[in-house]
């Protein structure tokens, strides 16, 4: 019987069926559940890597050593992994090697919506774009055939709706794939200029051969119906096209989109008069099709940003706006905020009081420290930039003669990902920056994944805990202050001590995330004494969703409160107390 599965679950099943033996990933929405599902399958080694570059190098090494492998990440992770990815295309593979990129149109959980299909073209690597869960399974199996047949890594490009929507899937039989006996092959696997010159020419021949494959590929499907109108689509747009356009239109549904099936597209264009190209984000197909000299309509009418849905496509195509019922209600947004009991709250509340501080933040839950009422963070760029951007700011303030104290703030997982190089930069180049690791002992924003500092691996085995404190000391920071952010007095003293320090000083703000499941939390409950509450609203400044006003006085929701006491510590009138 068919099963309802998300694209991520189906890809995991497909990887298992394809005989993949080594899988490495870094968590990132919407890709995270792929490897979390893959770990249930026997015979597959799955791991969290410190970052996407490492994951891709691990997977590629495994391929060179003769087994099928995969690295998995969200779209911006490909930016981190781009270096090994581009070079692996030149060198080719032994065991099949697939890199999965989960793009996030509409930026549901991301800082940009870059269209990673451009990477396939830039790196000259073949690309699949599944449109539903069954295709996720079937295409990932085919991706390994393509990888080994054409001696190349393959880019498997998914999007949020393909990853996270569920549709019916029929399983296949798992393949028995033997490891390829290892043979030393320096001419192939040493990326020296001399070898690369040879590889570059082979790559051109390979692209030619893959273009021929593309014309006949099982996942590039032409359906000629009406000869007047036709639609070319790829990825999730294939499903939206079938939903929106009349069934008697002609369709060219593309699942293997680099190299493009030129002959197939020409054949479609010869048989259909008026062609529309439907694709999310950039005109990736459209521009290449137009370069073939074929007249098509695409981004002239369809949006070039954000996710598509049937209503948007109908409006773009027929010009009729879908009506929604107008309700006269003044809506309030629900911006995500730090959870009640979040250990980051004490740090941000305290540092916000230092009017002279500039804080370069980073990617993680603690990005929410930039939202009101905490509003403590000045910048967030990308994974790892918390330390290095802080360095640039500090140097700029120095040359400009501006008196500021600069903090770089990253989380524990982000520190291992790419914060550590920024810490080295700060020490080496004598930056007047205080690097701060908000260590909540997990990778929380993506759903509490383990990392090198947690002492557990993806499969739940005990691992060596990499010590952030020891790393700071080894780099050369003379002073490393470790503090519990839940104690606001200690937190403030630590910040003052770091600011006053003469030598290089780093700070570790340490308390586990309240959402971690496998540890015991000492949850309590804070309550408000309405007689003592003066309605000063000071407690609201900690930005906790468990505290709000009821009938003019502060109220703490017992269903949400964890008894962290941060609100109690900021109350000047002893109106809040904690109970067990």
């Amino acid at each position: 019987m068919k099963q309802l599965m998300s694209g991520n679950e189906a890809v995991a099943r497909g990887l298992y069926e394809a005989g993949v033996k080594i899988a490495s990933a870094y968590p990132g929405t919407p890709s995270t559940e792929i490897i979390e599902n893959l770990r249930q399958y026997q015979g597959v080694y799955s791991e969290w890597a410190p970052n996407e570059k490492v994951a891709t190098e691990v997977a590629y090494g495994a391929s060179i050593a003769g087994v099928r492998s995969v690295s998995i990440m969200k779209h911006v992770g490909i930016n981190v992994a781009a270096d090994p990815m581009f070079n692996a295309v030149y060198d080719g593979v032994e065991g099949g090697f697939v890199i999965i990129s989960a793009d996030d149109p509409s930026m549901h959980s991301s800082q940009n919506e870059q269209d990673n299909r451009h990477y396939a073209r830039a790196a000259k690597m073949p690309m699949f774009e599944p449109s539903d869960s069954q295709e996720c399974l079937d295409m990932i199996r085919e991706a390994y055939q393509v990888s080994e047949r054409f001696d190349t890594p393959v880019l498997f490009r998914m999007t949020t709706r393909v990853c996270h929507s569920k549709s019916l899937v029929e399983f296949g039989q798992p393949l028995q794939v033997e490891s390829i006996p290892y043979k030393k092959n320096p001419a192939k696997y040493i990326s020296s200029p001399a070898n690369a010159m040879v590889h570059r020419q082979l790559l051109e021949e390979r692209l030619q051969a893959m273009a021929e494959y593309s014309d006949k590929a099982e996942f590039n499907r032409m359906e000629i119906n009406d000869r007047k109108f036709g639609v070319i689509a790829s990825g999730i747009s294939v499903q939206i096209a079938r939903e929106v356009f009349p069934a008697d239109y002609s369709f060219l549904s593309l699942g293997f989109t680099y190299p493009l099936p030129e002959k197939l597209i020409r054949s479609f264009a010869e048989q259909v008069e008026e062609i529309y190209v439907l694709e999310e984000l950039d005109p990736f197909l459209e521009e290449q099709i137009k370069a073939l000299g074929i007249k098509v309509t695409g981004k002239d009418i369809f949006p070039n940003m954000f996710e598509l849905n049937p209503a948007i496509v109908r409006e773009s195509y027929w010009g009729e706006k879908q009506e929604s019922v107008d309700l006269d209600v003044d809506m309030v947004a629900r911006p995500p905020s730090l959870c009640p009991g979040c250990p980051h709250r004490g740090f941000f509340y305290t540092i916000r009081k230092k009017k002279n501080a500039v804080i370069a933040g980073d990617i993680g839950c603690y990005t929410l420290g930039g939202s009101p009422p905490l509003a403590a963070i000045d910048s967030v760029i990308c994974m790892g930039a918390g330390f290095s951007a802080a360095m640039g700011m500090a140097k700029a303030f120095e040359v400009s003669g501006v008196d500021k104290v600069v903090f770089g703030v990253v989380g524990d997982s982000t520190f291992f990902h790419s914060g550590i190089t920024g810490a080295i930069e700060i020490l080496y180049n004598k930056g007047r920056v205080i690097p701060v690791v908000l260590d909540n002992s997990t990778t929380s924003m993506t759903g509490q994944q383990d990392n090198p500092g947690t002492g557990l691996t993806l499969s739940g085995e005990i691992a060596e805990k990499v010590s952030i404190e020891a790393l700071f000391k080894a780099i050369g920071f003379a002073k490393v202050i470790t503090v519990d952010p839940q104690d606001l007095t200690a937190m403030e003293a630590a910040i003052d001590e770091a600011i006053a320090a003469e030598q290089a000083c780093a700070m570790i703000v340490k308390r586990p995330c309240v959402l971690i499941k496998n540890i015991e939390h000492d949850f309590k409950l804070c309550v408000v004494d309405r007689d003592l509450c003066t309605s000063c609203r000071r407690c609201l400044r900690v930005g906790c969703s468990a505290i709000y006003y009821v009938d003019g006085k502060a109220y703490i929701d017992p269903a949400l409160c964890t008894g962290c006491t941060v609100c109690m510590q900021v109350c000047n009138f002893d109106a809040i107390s904690v109970v067990d």
Binding site: S165, A311, S324, V332, L368, L540
Partner: protein
Amino acid sequence: MSETVKSIVLIGVGGQGTILVSKVLTTALVTAGFDVKMSEIHGMAQRGGSVSTQIRYGKKVYSPLIGVGEADILLAFERMEAVRGAALLKKDALIIVNDYTIIPPPVASGTAVYPDNCIDALREKFKLIAFNAAQVAEELGNPRVMNVVLLGAMAEVLQLDKLDWETALKVNVPERFIEINQEAFKRGRELARSEEEAYAP
């Protein structure tokens, strides 16, 4: 089986259990032989954000996504979220709403006011079934089964008698909670039935 595809939207606030409801619902639909697609966004769900799931079922479903003005039924776990979700509804759509409030952060911090006319505004424009599922769940002895009370109401209005709800609940709920969830489901069904009768001419 009818050719038409039905589109359902579930909306609530992170932590309210919308995901479990959509799992039970889709399990029942798949077992009954429907083609089903379901789409959810859960990136920031745990941090008090609005969470919504879209479910489409019929003989053959293409798009997992529902656009503005296209949904047939809305199951809302919170009053203001019902208004948010209503943007996706067709004109003659049906709403089941949990008459229950979760204060959003801007209201908590005093920078915004929670709208007090959600239910009235919805009732004016749609067919509405409203009750306090949180209270029902509390009466049953476990506030967390609020979501399954709402599911029961949904099961009643879907009028898909051949769906095996009992099994669908069993496979998605931990064993020790099955009994209370079945009770919650039953209560939700009854409430929806009596509300629907109130509409009858």
